[in-house]
Symmetry: C2
Subunit: 410 residues, 2 copies
């Protein structure tokens, strides 16, 4: 078994935390921003220094590869992202990139023999925070998204600017022939923070990820009548927000009867006209529900369909916004991860991913899996994100040994 280096990992965490430092413990590092380019420059500088060859593709994804002893073998890739949400933390995404770097650095420092070329990779715009959608480049490279469509994605801060323009200006834009492909790569690993409280609650450092949960996302709507707050007696009112509150509590009550592993969230609400002196005439809220078992998801949809057509004198409606089926990771790779973490004597458990990751798209193209590192208090997408240096290094060690097991077996 090989072990990665805590001091080197700590240095990377400290260094990368400066790129986009928002001044109070976290970062804002939108994809293709100057801050994201600083992070890419550092990635390239450090990996070239240990002998990696750097390539970029037409989506500005970056690949840094060290050769193996057998030139006929496909590459093994370890990938994640350097971009963040607004006021994000120092671990989401970047931990996977730093872990991939740490694996290459350990291999080179300790001259660990391996047959396959091994690649550390940065995916462009996983968060989609400035230019939606999320997982943009893995979506394009795996054929899930249309490239022309994502090029015209508008900046949420300045709709006159597009992702395509930002890509055109990036020094990291390269050739389509360098894209990740099943012809050139045999497997992908992604290390990521858990973004949830399960590992910490159970005292485990590492999660062996088995799948990305299936999900549905619906919009729930109520339709009332806008009237003046001061002049409309209560009995004449059709208040869409009053109705929406009832529907929201109805959904909680019914969904709580389903499998306890189900997670569901009503995170977004829009109220029209949203003026304190006007009775709301339309409310629209989101419901996102996730579970590994498609039968449970079907039960969720049945409950959404059972919302009474009229609540508090308001008509109701619902609409499917999007859905995905559960994506199972490659059993062989999951086994390598499990064996590695056990052999390293690191506390761990199997876990599923409730969040989406580039790995879920790539799993349609080649064997893929993920490794989770404990998140303190389960926080992510916020400045409170934290995983200890020891835990981050443990994650990298697990990935290193899993990569070497694959290298030896294939």
């Amino acid at each position: 078994m090989y072990i990665c280096d805590e001091k080197r990992m700590a240095d990377k965490i400290n260094t990368f935390s400066q790129f986009g430092d928002a001044g109070h413990g976290g970062i804002t590092r939108y994809s293709l921003s100057p801050e994201a380019h600083q992070a890419r420059d550092e990635f390239v500088r450090r990996l070239k220094a240990i002998g990696a060859v750097v390539e970029t593709d037409d989506m500005a994804n970056v690949y840094a590869t060290i050769p193996g002893t057998d030139p006929t073998q496909k590459r093994i890739v370890m990938a994640s992202h350097v971009d963040s949400v607004k006021n994000g933390g120092n671990y989401d995404g970047i931990l996977g990139v730093m872990s991939a770097m740490e694996v290459l650095e350990t291999i080179q420092a300790e001259k660990i023999p391996h047959r396959h070329p091994i690649t550390a990779m940065i995916w462009t715009n996983e968060e989609g925070s400035l230019y939606p959608p999320a997982m943009m480049s893995s979506g394009v490279v795996t054929g899930k998204f249309d490239k022309e469509a994502v090029l015209s994605s508008k900046s949420i801060l300045d709709p006159s600017k597009t992702f395509g323009e930002a890509l055109e200006k990036s020094p990291y834009k390269g050739a389509a022939e360098n894209r990740l492909s099943a012809e050139k790569y045999c497997a992908m690993f992604e290390t990521h923070i858990e973004q949830g409280p399960i590992l910490e609650a159970e005292g485990k450092d590492i999660g062996v990820v088995t799948c990305v949960l299936g999900m549905v996302n619906y919009r729930i709507r109520t339709y009332g009548q806008a009237d003046h707050a001061g002049t409309t007696p209560m009995q004449y009112r059709r208040d869409a927000l009053y109705a929406a509150a009832q529907v929201l509590l109805y959904l909680h009550e019914e969904l709580d009867k389903l499998d306890p592993e189900l997670v569901y969230t009503t995170g977004e609400i829009k109220c029209h006209p949203c003026v304190h002196t006007v009775i709301p005439d339309e409310v629209d809220f989101s419901i996102d529900a996730r579970h590994e078992n498609p039968d449970v998801i079907r039960q969720v949809v049945e409950i959404i369909k059972s919302i009474p057509a009229e609540v508090a004198k308001c008509k109701t409606g619902f609409e499917l916004a999007w859905k995905r089926d559960t994506v199972y990771f490659d059993k062989k790779l999951v086994g390598y991860v499990k064996d590695s973490v056990d052999e390293l004597g690191i506390s761990n458990r199997f876990i599923n991913s409730g969040a989406g990751h580039d790995a879920q798209f790539v799993s349609y193209m080649m064997p893929t899996t993920m490794i989770f590192v404990q998140s303190k208090d389960g926080h992510s997408h916020c400045e409170e994100e934290f995983s200890s240096v020891a835990q981050c290094t443990a994650g990298a060690s697990v990935m290193l040994n899993a990569v070497l097991k694959l290298d030896a077996d294939s």
Copy 2:
């Protein structure tokens, strides 16, 4: 008894509906906009044509006065506004201005003798739609608002522009000495659409307004924890929107036990971060409650204070945003209106005003009252606003006779 002219009223309704016509039955006519200036120009043109003298004050309020037979008497003023909300209707505000014009036109056309000078007036920026707050100029003239503060009010469409700049550019900006004052004016009447469904439901054309309801406006807040929608098991969640829905329904349940004349509205809701994949960590909604009796308002406040400090594992909070006491209109003027509408044989009832109007500020300065005209379906602040020509003319006739009663008695 004197009667106003339906044909002349219909012509005014048709003409003024063109200024700011939004193309589908209503208008957008922000204060001091080119459209609002068109309406003012038409007001001035028509009233000058019948011999009125036009003055303007430092807030661009416009006064058109016809002389009376006794030059020692103070003026009687009839006032309302020509500005609208975004996508408002053809009656709110402008009906009071057209009614005041119609009264002067009837007096001149029929050579009705009167001792007092009589004034038709336009208040600037009653709605506060572009430059908050509402009732801006009556607030300044009656000393409720600080003039310097309102001059710096920023446009909600372009925060680089202020009300003061728009006022400076208006050809209607005049001298402060022309302001409405108790020295120069003895009473104010304001005719307005009801903006509610009570008159229509009871088959009454006219409302004799006795007061503007007292009110309180609170912000209710719930505080949770933002976490990832996919990775946070239900038992770890503190969902501020789930808590807010419970608090909202609690308020409905408790407030519905109070006096049935109470009206209350939860019209505005803000959810943070309001993203479908994130559990909300803060929700803030408004509650506006109105009743004539301050004891009922006190009961409302007690109920707000009784919200449990913790709901669904989320802390709760509340904050008074603003309040006003019930404003009673002048008994003598209310009596003139009631006598006039009865003598004219027009169906009517006493009514209170749930909405705020310039009249409520002016009532602190001089005897003031209001006349309501039935609103079809109770709608206002929307393109569906409608009152028939007959009803609008009836409202003007009531105001004419009430003014003449005051003229005779004082």
